[in-house]
Amino acid sequence: MPGLYPGQVVRVRSERSLDAESKKADRGVVRQMLAAGMKALTGDSNDLDGWRRFIVPQDVVGIKVNCSGAPQIFSSPEVVGAVAEKLVEAGVPASNIWVYERFENQVRTVPYAEFLPAGVQIWTAETSRGSILGYDSKVYVETTFFGEEDTRSNVARLITDKLTKIINVPNTKEHQASGVTGCLKNIAYGNFSNVARSHQREVTNTKTFIGTLAATEPVRSRVVLNVMDGLRGVWHQGPFSNEARFRFYPKLLMLGTDPVAMDRQLIELIEAKRKAEGAVSIFERARTTLGDNHDPNKNAFIREPGHVEYAAKLGLGVYDLERIRLKEIEL
């Protein structure tokens, strides 16, 4: 990271991507959106040529999904399935493709297997919550926030043992602690253990920790592409909101290699929705906004959306809107 296309984001939107009534995703439309996005990102006339810029058949590829919020919101199986199909088309054996996440109890609620090519594997780091056995004991970031005894956050063992590339598939969500949870947070908190320790009371250390984790090797160099699933989103109480009134339906995908530029676009998306709903900005730091977050103007934490700009300072991508090239496609 920031990969082959720093500062570039492709946003593909289709009203047809979700059924108006059921909000069920249309696989065919999702495939079209993904293909259009890839062509726009790489400039290739054939989307498969685009995929081959990132992946070779010898790769072992992880698709990092985000199921924090499942079964309400998660990386859509339609999107994940479409990504896996393209990897197979690009020559990667299905058995060398791993859809993965940290918590088994969350992944179990999403029917990924039904949407994946036969042979694609599903893996979770914590088959029992809190277990460290799915993490590499030798690769970790060590720091202390609140005097906790366990000062290490270890990277998922799958990454160090097997994967040569990672396709990151986050969602479009507000996050009570980090402001938004997009590419960077899915790379960071989604690949390392023992990260919830960064929050205590209203204080969260996500501003620096997210970028620090995302910049840690081998994670940084393994993530070659981000496909942000914005078919559905959460604009408040994220990521676990159970309240339907805080969900929204942007009906879009974003593609890019620069997680900072993409999360910058996510901030714009969430802020616009919150403004339309009359809710305070995610950048609001007044203590008067602390409280019961059933009220969209209240939150449990002082959010830290500045983690995106901080990640830019670590060289992970471009934060300045003036320097981000956004290509918008409507299907």
Binding site: I132, L133, G147, E148, E149, D150
Partner: protein
């Protein structure tokens, strides 16, 4: 001071009569303590001795309070541990009143701290206690000294007690000393400039200050992957013994724990037997992963 690490096995204090002997035998319990007036009735049934729990120092039932529904300043669950009480009165006789599987954890705790302890339990506790006693009996006696990273001047106050409790639960290895000991890495005394009594009103603060002053790099033992595991480390020149107690006990097995012990060791023996993972020497220490801790694990390390 050297001590025989496996010398003291906790004993079951049993209120019921000899008609319960078959259940005790089935659990593998061969020796019990009973009230003096009951000794005669047990003679010839099991190995029996007289004991008076009312004269013993009462210990809390070792456990964890998760307090999930209670707002608190910390996510860390509260561990009910007794190490500090035993350290404060090492020659004391102690008693636990525990139910069910807690009897096993109580026995392991007493054994780890080399406490002279009675375990008073119910019928449901006999099986787990018997199983734990079998494990403890299999731990070979070794002349090992408790490892301490710093000294603490215990003034006998409740505050000092709570500070020691937090040291124990935080795996901060200390020894009670009457004055600074140059052999130790640092000295902690309440009421000094470094550890003012005003700060001691919040004992957590003192424990955090001591940890910061010591620094994690100089600690003889570290635990990663659980906040409910408390250790006790003993060592001699070429070997060490690490006791690991899971205070969540049988209710909640710890699935994987990473341990770092200062000093480079080549070999580890684990009881109960299990495969040790990712054993390596790193930066002057030895690190390894235990795949699980049900209630208690003891690791013998050899250089």
């Amino acid at each position: 001071m050297l001590l025989l690490a496996a010398a003291l096995l906790p004993r079951l204090f049993w209120d019921a009569g000899p008609e319960t002997a078959p259940a005790l035998r089935q659990a593998g319990i061969e020796k019990i303590a009973v009230a003096a007036e009951r000794v005669a009735s047990w003679k010839g049934v099991l190995d029996v001795e007289a004991a008076d729990p009312s004269r013993a120092i009462r210990l809390v039932a070792p456990s964890v309070d998760y307090r999930a529904n209670q707002a608190s300043a910390s996510r860390t669950p509260w561990i009910n541990a007794n190490g500090w009480r035993i350290v404060r009165q090492p020659a004391g006789e102690f008693v636990y009143d525990v139910k069910g599987a807690q009897a096993a954890l109580a026995a392991a705790e007493a054994f780890s701290w080399n406490a002279n302890a009675l375990i008073r339990t119910d019928a449901a506790g006999v099986g787990p206690l018997g199983e734990m006693l079998r494990l403890l009996k299999g731990v070979p006696a070794e002349d090992l000294a408790p490892v301490a990273d710093f000294g603490f001047e215990d003034d006998g106050s409740a505050t000092a007690g709570e500070v020691m409790n937090l040291f124990v639960k935080g795996n901060l290895l200390f020894r009670i000393v009457p004055r600074p000991d140059p052999a130790l890495k640092m000295h902690v005394k309440l009421g000094t400039k470094e550890y003012p009594l005003e700060d001691a009103k919040n004992p957590v603060k003192i424990a955090q200050m001591a940890r910061a002053n010591l620094s994690d790099d100089r600690r003889s033992v570290r635990v990663y992957g659980s906040v409910v595991v408390v250790t006790r480390l003993l060592a001699a020149r070429d070997r060490a013994r690490l006791h690991l107690l899971n205070y969540a006990g049988a209710e909640r097995r710890v699935d994987g724990i990473r341990v770092r012990v200062a000093g480079e060791y080549s070999k580890a023996t684990v009881r109960p037997e299990m495969k040790i993972l990712d054993f390596e020497k790193v930066d002057g220490g030895t690190e390894f992963t235990l795949p699980e801790i049900r209630t208690y694990v003891v690791v013998d390390l050899q250089k």
